[in-house]
C-alpha cells in the first residue's frame, strides 16, 4: 500500500467540489444576506472549472489509490452529466428558494456534497468506495428533502427517504460482504478475476448478486423497490426533487453498470434474468399507476420510475450482447432523460397559486393563454418524455429498443413500446389541460408562472437539449459510445 501525491491530481475535481462545499458552509454565516448570491456564483464557478478538468480526463483508464478509484472516459461521461444537472439545480434553486422563502446558504453546500458523493460513485472501482459515495450522496439528499421545515409533507418525505435509504444501504452492504466472502476481494477487477474460475451456480455468489441488485434497485427506484419514490418526490422541495430524479438516478446507474459489467460480468446470464423481471414490472407498474395521478410531481415520479424501466432494457440487452452497444444505449438514455425530466420539474416548481406551489395538474389549466412560451416548452418536455420524434426522448428510446432487438428480444421491445403508447396518455393530459381547458376559477387567482433570469436559463438549457439532441443526436451518441469502450 503506497500513497502517491500524483493520485491527488487525478481526483482534483472531487477535491475542488468538496472544498467549495466547505467554503459555502463556512462563508454562509459570515456573509451579509445581500451577498449570499455569491454562494451561487461560487458553486457555479467550481462546476465550470471541474467541467474543464473532467473533459481532459476522457481517456484510457488510470487507477488511483491502489485501485480504489479509476479515472476513465466512462466516469468522465457521468461526471460531465452530473455537473450539468447540478448547475441547472443551483440555477433553479436560486429562483425557487426565493419564492419559497427558504434562505439556507447551506443548501448549496449540500448540493455540492451530494455531487461529490455521486462523483465518487461513478469513478469508484471498489465496492466499499462505491458504498462511501452512495452514503455521502444519500445523507445530503435526506437533509435537502426535509428542507421545508414548516411543511409536514416535506418532513415526511425526508424521514421516509432516510429510513428506506438506510434500509437499502444495509442490503447493499450485506451483498458486498457476501461477495467478499465468495471472492475474497472488494475490488471490481479482482472480483471479476475470481468469478471466472468459479461455478455460476455457487449459491453464495447468486445470493450476493441478488442482494446487490436489490440494493441498487432501491437507489434506481425500480419496481418493486420504488415505494419511497412518489412520496419523497412529492414532498421534497421541487428543486430537490428534480435533482434527485435526474442526478441521483444517473449516478446510481453509473455505479450500478460498473459493478455489474466490470465486477460481475461473468454472471451476465444470472443477472440479466433478474433485471428482465425488474424491467417488466417497472414498465408496467410505472406507466399504469402514472395514468391515475392528479398531482404533477407524483405523476412525474411514476414517469421517472417508468423511465428507469426503459433504461433497464438496455442493461438486459447488454447482458446478452458481446459488445457494448447495450451499455451505450443506457448512457445515452439517461443523458437525454436529464434534459426532459429536469425541464418537466422546473416548470411546476415556478408555478405559483396564491403564493404556494401549484403542483396539481389542474393548475396548468389555460397556461397556454397566460404563458404561451412556457406552455410550449412544457409541451416539448411532455412530448419528449412520451418518446415522440423529433425530440430527445425518441432518440433515447430508439437506441434502447435497438439494442433489445439486437439481443434477440423483439418481444420486450414490443411490450415496452406498447407501454410507451400508454404513457402518451398521461403526458398528453398535461398538454390537454394547458391548451384545451380554461382555468376553472377567476383569472386573478389562476396560477401564475414566476419568471426570473436564472429560471429562464434553466428552461432554455433543458429545451435546447431536448430539441437539438432530438434533431442531431450524433455528438452525444459518439460520446456515449466512446465512454463505454473504457468499461472492461
Amino acid at each position: 500500500m503506497t500513497f502517491s501525491v500524483g493520485d491527488l491530481f487525478l481526483i482534483l475535481p472531487e477535491l475542488l467540489v468538496i472544498t467549495a462545499a466547505c467554503m459555502v458552509f463556512v462563508l454562509d454565516p459570515v456573509l451579509r444576506p445581500s451577498d449570499k448570491d455569491g454562494l451561487v456564483w461560487l458553486s457555479l464557478g467550481t462546476l465550470a472549472v471541474c467541467m474543464g478538468l473532467t473533459a481532459s480526463q476522457m481517456s484510457a483508464p488510470v487507477e488511483a489509490f491502489n485501485g480504489l478509484v479509476v479515472i476513465d472516459a466512462y466516469g468522465a461521461f457521468w461526471k460531465l452529466l452530473l455537473y450539468f444537472v447540478t448547475g441547472l439545480t443551483i440555477l433553479l434553486s436560486h429562483s425557487y428558494l426565493k419564492e419559497e422563502r427558504l434562505y439556507f446558504g447551506e443548501y448549496y453546500g449540500f448540493v455540492l456534497l451530494a455531487l461529490s458523493g455521486m462523483m465518487v460513485m461513478v469513478s469508484a472501482a471498489d465496492l466499499l468506495t462505491i458504498y462511501l459515495g452512495t452514503e455521502l450522496m444519500s445523507l445530503s439528499l435526506y437533509v435537502m428533502a426535509g428542507l421545508k421545515r414548516s411543511e409536514p409533507r416535506s418532513l415526511e418525505a425526508s424521514a421516509k427517504y432516510f429510513v428506506l435509504g438506510a434500509f437499502s444501504s444495509g442490503i447493499l452492504l450485506y451483498g458486498i460482504s457476501l461477495l467478499y466472502g465468495a471472492t475474497g476481494s472488494t475490488r471490481l477487477p479482482a472480483i471479476a478475476a475470481a468469478i471466472t474460475g468459479q461455478s455460476l451456480d455457487d449459491p453464495l455468489l447468486m445470493f450476493a448478486t441478488i442482494l446487490l441488485a436489490v440494493g441498487f434497485g432501491f437507489k434506481l427506484a425500480v419496481v418493486p423497490f420504488h415505494m419511497w419514490t412518489p412520496d419523497v418526490y412529492q414532498g421534497a422541495p421541487t428543486s430537490v426533487t428534480a435533482f434527485m430524479a435526474v442526478a441521483s438516478k444517473a449516478a446510481s446507474f453509473g455505479a450500478f453498470l460498473r459493478v455489474f459489467i466490470e465486477g460481475l460480468g461473468g454472471l451476465k446470464a444470472n443477472w440479466s434474468a433478474i433485471f428482465l423481471l425488474l424491467c417488466l414490472a417497472t414498465l408496467v407498474l410505472g406507466n399504469v399507476v402514472a395514468l391515475v395521478q392528479t398531482n404533477i410531481k407524483r405523476m412525474l415520479a411514476y414517469s421517472s420510475i417508468a423511465h428507469a424501466g426503459y433504461a433497464l432494457i438496455g442493461v438486459v440487452a447488454a447482458g446478452r450482447l458481446e459488445h457494448s452497444s447495450g451499455i451505450a444505449s443506457v448512457l445515452l438514455y439517461l443523458a437525454l432523460y436529464t434534459f426532459m425530466t429536469f425541464g418537466a420539474f422546473a416548470i411546476p416548481a415556478m408555478l405559483r397559486k396564491d403564493g404556494i406551489e401549484g403542483d396539481e395538474i389542474e393548475d396548468f389549466s389555460g397556461l397556454s393563454k397566460r404563458h404561451p412560451v412556457a406552455a410550449l416548452l412544457m409541451l416539448i418536455f411532455m412530448v419528449s418524455l412520451a418518446g415522440i420524434p423529433p425530440t430527445a426522448g425518441f432518440i433515447g428510446k430508439f437506441y434502447v429498443f435497438m439494442s433489445a432487438v439486437e439481443a434477440g428480444m423483439t418481444w420486450l421491445a414490443v411490450i415496452a413500446l406498447i407501454f410507451a403508447a400508454v404513457s402518451a396518455y398521461y403526458y398528453l393530459r398535461v398538454v390537454m389541460v394547458m391548451y384545451m381547458r380554461e382555468p376553472s376559477d377567476a383569472t386573478d387567482s389562476a396560477p401564475q408562472l414566476v419568471m426570473s433570469p436564472t429560471f429562464s436559463i434553466v428552461l432554455a438549457c433543458a429545451a435546447a437539449g431536448v430539441v437539438i439532441f432530438g434533431i442531431y443526436p450524433n455528438p452525444l451518441v459518439q460520446l456515449a459510445m466512446q465512454a463505454v469502450l473504457t468499461l472492461k
Binding site: L379, I388, P389, M402, V405, L417, I418, A424, L428
Partner: protein, 530 residues
C-alpha cells in the same frame, strides 16, 4: 439522377421556417405569411412535375447526407412516380386549407397557422423520405400538430376525438418502429429503404413484419375494423384539419402499403391478400352503408372516405398494373374530391353554424354558385365518368376483375351505394324545399371561397379527362413494385395479365374494356337519343 438544387429539402424546410416565423407576427399578418409560405411551397413543387423523368422508375431528385454515424442513418430524400403526385397533391391542398381558415379561425391564429405549416413539412417529408428512420420521424412528427389542431380548434367533443386519434395512430406506429429495427438487423444493417426493398427475408419474418406494418398503415388508412377514430376526428376537427386528415393523412397508410409492405414483404403480402381483400370490401360496403344513414354532413363524408379508401387497399393487393395504378390514382382523386367536399361543408358551416343536413336544405336558391360546386364534388365522389374518381375506381375494378369476378361484384356495390348517398345528400342540401323560416339570407360564396374551391374543380375535370400524364409518370415505378412481388416469374405475371408495356396505360385500359364501353354507348344512344 441528381439535381444540383435540393428541391425536396426546400419543400420540407420552407413550411417549417414559415411556422417559426408565424410566431413572431400578429394574427392578421400570420394569415398572410402562412398563405405566402404555402403558395411559395406550391410554386417550388410545380417544376418537379416537368423535371420528372417519366420514363424512369428510379428515385429522382435524390439527396443524401449522413445524419447519425452509428448506426448509419441518413437524411435521404427522393421521389418516384408514386410519391410525386402525392407530394403535389399536398402542396396544392395546403394553400386551400389556409384560405378556408381565413375567418373561421379567430382564436390563436398564429399557432393554428404554425401547426398547418408544420404538418405540411412533415407530410412532404413522409412521402419523400428514403431512410426508414427519417420516414418514421416525419410520420410521428405529424401526430402532435394534428392532435393540437383537433383538440384546440375543434368542435364540442374535441378532447375525446383528439386523444382517440392520437392513441390509435400512436399504438399502430410503435409497432412499425419495432419492424424497422428488425428489418435493420435482417436486411444487412441498413435503414436505406431502396436497399431494404431488394432484400430477401424468410417467410416467418415476413409474416410478423407484415402484421407490424399492417398495424401502422391499416389504422392510418383506415381499414375496417380500425376506422372508428376517423368519424370522430373528422367531425370534430376544424375544416382545414378535416381536409388534411381526409386528403393527405389517410393516403399515408396506403402509401406505406405500396412503398414498404409490397416490395419488402412480397411473400407475406401475397399470403395476406385474401384477408386484405375481404377487409377492403367490407370497408367499401360498410362505409357506404353507414354514410347512407348519417344526418351530419361531415360524418357522411367521413364514412364515404372509409368506403373510397377501401378501393385503394383493394387495388393495391391485386398485384396487377391496373389495380395498383388505379389505387394510386384513387389516392390522389380521393384527396382532391373529399378535400373539396370538406371545404364545402366548411363554407356552409361558417354561415349556418350547423353541419346537419336538416339545417342546410335547399341551398340552390340563396347560394347558386355554392350549389354548383357541391354538385360537382358530389358527382366526382360517386365516380361519374368524366370526373377524376371514375378513372381510379374503374381501374381498380378492372384489376379486381382480373383477380376475382365475385370480389368485383361486391366492390361495385360500393359505387352504387355511393351514388345513393351522394345523390340523396345533394337532393336535400341543394335542391330540397326548406320551410320559409329555415332559409335565412345566406351569402353566396365570395371571391376567397371561390378561389379555394375552383382549383379543385379544375383538377377534377383535368384528371377525369386527361389522366395520362399522371399514369405515365407512375407507370415505371408501379412496374418496379410489381417486379418485386413476382421476381422469379415475370413472364408468368405478364401472362396472367397480358400487357404491352409500350402502349400508354389509358389506351391499354380502353382496349381492355372496349367492348363494355361500346355496349354502354349503344344502350345510352338507344334509350335516350341526343
Amino acid at each position: 439522377m441528381t439535381h444540383s438544387f435540393p428541391w425536396l429539402t426546400a419543400l420540407i424546410l420552407l413550411p417549417l421556417i414559415g411556422a417559426a416565423a408565424v410566431f413572431f407576427v400578429r394574427d392578421a399578418t400570420a394569415r398572410l405569411v402562412a398563405l405566402a409560405v404555402a403558395v411559395a411551397d406550391l410554386l417550388i413543387s410545380l417544376p418537379l412535375w416537368w423535371l420528372f423523368d417519366a420514363s424512369s422508375g428510379n428515385m429522382q431528385f435524390m439527396e443524401s447526407a449522413l445524419w447519425i454515424s452509428s448506426p448509419r442513418i441518413h437524411y435521404r430524400l427522393g421521389l418516384d412516380g408514386i410519391s410525386l403526385p402525392l407530394v403535389l397533391m399536398t402542396t396544392v391542398l395546403m394553400p386551400l386549407c389556409i384560405l378556408i381558415s381565413w375567418h373561421s379561425i379567430e382564436s390563436r391564429v398564429q399557432s393554428f397557422m404554425a401547426m398547418l405549416l408544420i404538418m405540411e413539412g412533415a407530410m412532404i417529408g413522409v412521402f419523400a423520405a428514403l431512410d426508414f428512420v427519417l420516414f418514421y420521424v416525419f410520420w410521428e412528427a405529424m401526430l402532435i400538430p394534428m392532435y393540437l389542431l383537433i383538440g384546440v380548434w375543434g368542435g364540442p367533443n374535441r378532447l375525446y376525438a383528439a386523444i382517440k386519434f392520437f392513441l390509435y395512430t400512436l399504438t399502430g406506429s410503435v409497432l412499425l418502429l419495432v419492424a424497422i429495427l428488425v428489418l435493420y438487423f435482417q436486411g444487412g444493417h441498413t435503414f436505406d429503404i431502396l436497399q431494404l426493398s431488394q432484400g430477401a427475408y424468410s417467410k416467418s419474418i415476413q409474416f410478423w413484419l407484415f402484421l407490424a406494418f399492417f398495424a401502422a398503415f391499416a389504422v392510418k388508412v383506415p381499414m375496417f375494423p380500425f376506422h372508428t377514430w376517423l368519424p370522430d376526428a373528422h367531425v370534430e376537427a376544424p375544416t382545414a384539419g378535416s381536409v388534411i386528415l381526409a386528403s393527405i393523412l389517410l393516403k399515408m397508410g396506403a402509401y406505406g402499403f405500396v412503398r414498404f409492405s409490397l416490395p419488402m414483404l412480397p411473400d407475406a403480402s401475397q399470403a395476406f391478400t385474401p384477408l386484405m381483400v375481404v377487409l377492403s370490401i367490407i370497408a367499401i360496403i360498410y362505409g357506404a352503408y353507414m354514410a347512407l344513414a348519417q344526418p351530419d354532413l361531415k360524418k357522411l363524408i367521413a364514412y364515404s372516405s372509409v368506403s373510397h379508401m377501401g378501393f385503394v387497399t383493394l387495388g393495391l393487393f391485386m398485384f396487377n398494373i391496373q389495380g395498383i395504378e388505379g389505387a394510386v390514382m384513387q389516392m390522389v382523386n380521393h384527396g382532391i374530391t373529399t378535400g373539396g367536399l370538406f371545404l364545402c361543408v366548411g363554407v356552409i358551416y361558417e354561415r349556418t353554424h350547423s353541419r346537419q343536413i336538416a339545417d342546410n336544405i335547399g341551398l340552390t336558391k340563396p347560394m347558386p354558385r355554392y350549389a354548383t360546386f357541391l354538385v360537382i364534388f358530389a358527382l366526382s365522389s360517386l365516380g361519374l365518368p368524366g370526373t377524376n374518381s371514375f378513372v381510379g375506381e374503374f381501374m381498380v375494378l378492372i384489376g379486381t376483375f382480373l383477380w376475382s369476378k365475385i370480389a368485383t361484384a361486391f366492390a361495385s356495390l360500393g359505387i352504387i351505394l355511393a351514388a345513393a348517398y351522394m345523390l340523396w345528400m345533394v337532393q336535400r342540401v341543394a335542391f330540397g324545399v326548406s320551410a320559409p323560416h329555415m332559409l335565412p339570407k345566406l351569402r353566396d360564396v365570395n371571391l376567397r371561397e371561390t378561389a379555394t374551391l375552383a382549383p379543385l374543380v379544375v383538377l377534377i375535370f383535368a384528371i377525369g379527362l386527361f389522366p395520362n400524364p399522371i399514369l405515365t409518370r407512375m407507370h415505371p415505378s408501379v412496374e418496379k413494385v410489381l417486379a418485386r412481388v413476382f421476381p422469379s416469374a415475370p413472364e408468368e405475371a405478364s401472362a396472367m395479365h397480358p400487357i404491352d408495356p409500350l402502349t400508354p396505360p389509358v389506351e391499354r385500359l380502353a382496349s381492355t374494356t372496349e367492348a363494355t364501353f361500346s355496349q354502354e354507348r349503344q344502350a345510352v344512344s338507344e334509350g335516350r337519343p341526343r
